[in-house]
Amino acid sequence: MSLKRYNKMAYDDFEDMVFGHSIYPIKTGFDLEIGAGYTSAEVNYAPRPAAGESKEKLITEYQKITTDVLQRMVQVGFPSVVLETEHVQQMTVNPSWGAEIAHEQKTIMEEFYDEYGIKCALRHTPADIRGGKEALDLRGDSYCLLLESFEEVASNGADMLSIESLGGKSVFDSSIIRNDLSGVLFSIGILGTLDVEFIWEDISKIAKKHDVVAAGDTDCAQANTAMFIAGGLLDRKLAHTLAVVARAVSAPRSLAAYEAGAVGPGKDCGYENTIIKAIAGVPISQEGKGSTCAHSDVMGNLAMQCCDLWSNESVEYRGEFGGTSVQCWGETLSYDCSMMNTAIEAGYAKVFRDVFMVSDRYRDPQAFILAFDNAYRIGESIVKDGNDIYLRAKNAAIEACNIVDEGSRGQLELSRFEKASLAKAIKSLHSLTDEKDVFIEENLNKLSTMESFRPENYGY
């Protein structure tokens, strides 16, 4: 595959990065602009289990969800909103279901746009159905079905296409619980990257054909798994200094989508998106304190620093005292965006950006490396060897460790255990070869005994 790799940064200086602005803004849906001078909420929802019983029930559920969100937006005076529909399995496995739902949602959005002029757009995120009972099956029949799902939603109302793809997951799972950084580097940096660019070439074509937006991918299946296992400050399932490595390597992996034709906005749970924005200049969705309904994190404010869309990740549709859950979280997110947009209008965007970032900079190493100045550094280490998907990933991992190491001699307080684990990580990473082909061969050999690993998934 001859993709055009990133070899330089889109931003000259990290100081130029801020929320609500991107180098390559996007216009889509009903008059909605992303990264063009203001932020919008991206409301994300899951149907109740009972609704999943039939297509009709699902359609009704999504109609209610869509109406509820838009109704609340106009009741409180918000000028814009994005809705993201992450497919439940049935919706992707039956492409016509996804299509009908996209259509129904878009119809309601159009009614609100016509009546109130509220700017809005719809992102659809098919489920990655290429996981099997025995092993992943990334390039076979389920892949064809997945692409069919993309075609169907793209031609029936979805404005933006995304997915949280699974390439490399089984290898990653085995590696992360054993602190195996070489395995992490291989599963995310090599296998993940290969799968991302493979599918995004096809997804971009579909998007182009239907004149919709090929938005982007996140390393949810790997880097976020590491983040969740790492947990809170007191959890001891994974050293946070090691989760940092998974996150750093997820950036070049997710970057591959943009090299294969995606244009943003990056999807919400991609905490690596700040690194990607620094490199590619694309707008990004982020989540943090507005997504506690879905999961905790250690950078609830910092995540806002350079966001163009602000998301709640996912919430089950149900009643709260204050309305339905999508209304509650939609309103909270929209007020966060109103705050950011007011800051922009008042000329204080960068002050707000800095305060968001500093609130969590020293909360945890995972937050520290994603502070936009550090994220920029990691981006530089990636584009330095942009054409070599291995070296750039290794660079990112080492740079992230160096950043944490330097930070620990400043205001980032690490526990003794974290320092020890960081030292081991640095040592382990430095012991790796610089030769991509050597690294790949070593790892393929190691995996030859792993039953659930199929090299052909990645073109080997």
Partner: protein, 254 residues
């Protein structure tokens, strides 16, 4: 770019409450005295498979019986690791790495002794039908093996039929299943019913993202498990003779 003193706005509680001694220092005080056994236990602590094998060979060379090393050296080393984890000194991957090394050691001992090692008990583990997330099961399986249990791992997306068949075939002391999503959780119900129908009163330990104590409390055979590291404790309790009622009392999460 703004910067401030973070101590004014947040508290890194993990740093605040970190114990004084390093894991190595704590372990040092707990290792057995006998020098051959000590080396094996240390190797398990280090999680180094080669060292484990080497130290076992040395101990054998020095006259110790291979099969006895399993309980007296390998399991002792593993017990120290588990204790350190429970006491907040080690992290889970360390436990898994040590467990892996210890399992290698057990295999080596069995080879060298030519005899069968008696497991503490047999457990069947699986991921519910419709679910392909198996990190939880992977962790549980390793931890159980590290505690001396034989684990029959049925894999992911396992239908009820297969689970029941495996239970009938393997006659385990316990069944452990994980489910990440609320939509697939109902599989536990079917398993529970089918086991009761077949008069098989084996405890079914349920865990995973979607599972809650309230949910599991609905099933006669159901035991809720929040932490992967608790599963071996439940297994030990079963070996010690607790019945399902007593297990529910003991391990009920409020």
């Amino acid at each position: 770019m703004i910067d401030i003193n973070p101590q004014r706005i947040l508290t890194r509680y993990n740093v605040k409450v970190e114990k004084e001694m390093t894991p190595e220092e704590v372990a040092e005080k707990l290792f057995p005295v006998e020098v051959n056994i000590r080396e094996v236990a240390k190797a398990v602590f280090e999680g180094d498979e080669d060292e484990v094998v080497e130290s076992i060979q040395n101990a054998i060379n020095n006259g110790l019986d291979p099969l006895s090393l399993i309980n007296n050296a390998l399991m002792v080393g593993m017990e120290i690791v588990s204790t350190l984890y429970d006491d907040g000194v080690l992290y889970l991957p360390d436990v898994i790495i040590s467990a892996q090394a210890m399992i290698e050691g057990i295999e080596y001992c069995k080879e060298r002794s030519g005899q069968e090692h008696e497991y503490k008990g047999k457990i069947v583990s699986y991921v519910v039908e419709g679910d392909i997330h198996d990190i939880g099961k992977k962790i549980v399986t390793v931890l159980l093996r590290a505690k001396g249990y034989e684990v029959v791992d049925l894999g992911k997306d396992v239908c009820v039929e297969e689970v029941i068949a495996a239970v009938k075939r393997e006659k385990p002391i316990m069944l452990t299943g994980t489910s990440l999503m609320t939509t697939t959780m109902v599989g536990f119900q079917d398993v529970n019913s089918r086991l009761l129908e077949s008069d098989i009163n084996v405890p079914v330990v349920c865990g995973g993202g979607a599972v809650t104590q309230d949910f599991v409390s609905q099933y006669e055979l159901g035991l809720y498990c929040e932490e992967a590291s608790d599963v071996p404790k439940i297994a030990d309790a079963i070996i010690n003779g607790l019945n399902i009622g007593q297990l529910m009392k003991e391990f009920h999460k409020h």
